[in-house]
């Protein structure tokens, strides 16, 4: 498939056109040069699909979702990717959405993502997901890259911090990490830090890759060869840094504002989920916890591993209620160590409940992102899942390293 071809994405939904989000779905697809298509199926299949699928439902549109999924798997509707979506808060649709996604994943090699929308869902929210879906379909050759070559730079403009990594001949030779304030200025600072550490001149750089929320702005400003969403880049960076590029892996990235859980096979993302219901499940909650405890965020993890989360009742499902629990527990005499441990546990518990149910967890489980450096977080995740959690070196630079690695594909071009 050439880069110019439109990626055909099957929209398998139970009535997004009634929810006021159809134009946003179309807009997100258009921005990544994809086309939403509606898999054709025989109407008579709606009478039999429930028993074929093994799932009986009351809504006819959910039968339609199952029939369309079957058409995709059987190849009667040739597509490059599938976007499975239904209304947020609909239990019946959530069951079907989950099973349809699993069915497509198990019975085909077609990348699939699911998402639940409200009428407030915007194209910007859908863009990263749609971009990742089309990248997997369109740029498999790029994702197959296992070694960095030449002299390349990766810039990751995250919601909280901006990271830069300079790589030469498969080694990280410079890095920078600053809080995100102004997107371009922060990237400039991080880039300069990395240049200084690497001891190289900017004009010697052969290719630049940008990722994160500010990727488009940075891509334009720094004239980047690669501008790529963080799901693809981070999963690539994670398996590269953890040295697990072959076989299965699961990547969890706890970001400053949202989280990603990605199921990876041979370095290529398969199923993935992004975001939680509330920032309570993100690094932002840990930042607020550190602030309330009067410690630096870098110290929170050390405190947390000394505490016992069981002693404090905390549920950061909502960041406001989470902070209320935190304040209440401190007021009742809980010690900082236990509160810090409970905050870490609460964050990973939400990732487990909200995101890991939607991807197939296969070892190794690689934890990346700034929150992975807070020792209490990998410990809480390992305790919860009863498996060893791998935190690779430079895990906080995951996006920047992934971008530098993938950008090296453009050095040879």
């Amino acid at each position: 498939m050439s880069k110019e071809d439109k990626v055909k994405v099957a929209l398998v939904s139970c009535g997004s056109e009634f929810a006021g989000v159809q134009s946003q779905l179309d807009s997100a697809a258009e921005q990544v040069n994809a086309q939403l298509i509606y898999p054709e199926m025989d109407i008579s299949s709606l009478d039999t699909i429930e028993m074929e699928f093994g799932l009986q439902v009351a809504s006819a549109d959910l039968k339609l979702m199952m029939a369309r999924a079957k058409a995709v798997v059987e190849g009667t509707a040739p597509v490059d990717g599938v976007f499975v979506t239904s209304c947020f808060r609909c239990a019946e649709a959530a069951i079907v959405r989950n099973e349809v996604r699993r069915y497509i994943h198990q019975n085909s090699d077609i990348p699939v993502i699911s998402y639940s929308f409200t009428e407030r869902t915007t194209a910007a929210t859908l863009l990263t997901r749609m971009e990742a879906l089309t990248t997997i379909a369109r740029r498999k050759h790029l994702l197959a890259r296992e070694k960095q070559t030449g002299l390349t730079v990766g810039l990751d403009s995250g919601s909280t911090t901006t990271k830069a990594a300079i790589m030469r001949d498969n080694e990280i030779i410079g890095e920078g990490w600053v809080p995100t304030v102004n997107v371009v200025e922060s990237a400039r600072k991080a880039y300069d830090m990395a240049l200084e550490q690497a001891g190289i001149k900017e004009e010697d750089v052969q290719a630049i890759g940008t990722t994160g929320y500010g990727r488009f702005l940075l891509g334009e400003h720094f004239n980047a060869q690669l501008v790529q969403e963080e799901i693809t880049v981070n999963s690539k960076g994670a398996v590269y840094l953890a040295n697990t590029q072959k076989g299965p892996a699961t990547v969890i990235d706890i970001g400053g504002m949202d989280n990603k859980a990605i199921s990876v096979e041979d370095g290529i993302p398969g199923m993935f989920t992004m975001g939680g219901i509330c920032a309570g499940a993100s690094g932002r909650f840990l930042e607020m916890t550190a602030k309330r405890l009067g410690v630096e965020i870098t110290e929170l993890g050390k405190i947390a591993v000394k505490g016992m989360q069981e002693k404090v009742e905390m549920n950061s499902y909502c960041i406001v209620f989470g902070i209320q629990s935190l304040v209440n527990s401190l007021a009742q005499g809980s010690i900082a160590e236990d509160v810090a441990a409970a905050a870490c546990h609460s964050v990973v518990e939400q990732i487990f409940e909200q995101q890991l149910q939607e991807v197939e967890v296969k070892e190794p489980l690689i934890l990346v992102g700034g929150s992975s450096l807070i020792e209490g977080v990998p410990k809480a995740l390992g305790d919860l899942l009863k498996i060893d959690v791998v935190v690779p070196p430079h895990s906080q630079l995951i996006g920047a390293v992934g971008a530098a690695l993938l950008a090296s594909g453009y050095v040879e071009e």
Binding site: G15, G20, S59, F117
Partner: protein, 150 residues
Amino acid sequence: MTKVFIYPTNSLILSDLIERFGHTPLAMMGEVHDKITTIGIDSPPLNITPEDPKHGLKYAAVEVPAGVRGRMSLLGPLIDKAEAAIIVDDAAISFGCMGCARTNELTKFLTRDKDIPVLELTYPYSDAEGKEFVYKISEFLESLPKEDRS
């Protein structure tokens, strides 16, 4: 002439029967037609925008999924206008397809809850049941006032 709401709301057969008896069918097709011919809105295929699920809040609370409220923004005003209603339960998809079960439950409830004549039938699956089905509908439609109430 009586305004008769139908369920399934897009049943061409029910809509046609009502017209034949001199009444006005209140059906989804008319609402969708109005939507898609509204000049100035470009949100295909149905021209339902994020504002429509908000209009649906009149019929269902905010915790009800957006798709239900979006559908109710079309169906709710029809029920409000209805002077009579025919509900056909368990219909074949070819008779009229209602996609969302939660919308269907709410639509039928709001119809039954309204103080209007409602004929509720089960979809026929044999010739004899079919004849009885049409007979009951015609009897119901004949019983409705023919004069213009507006």
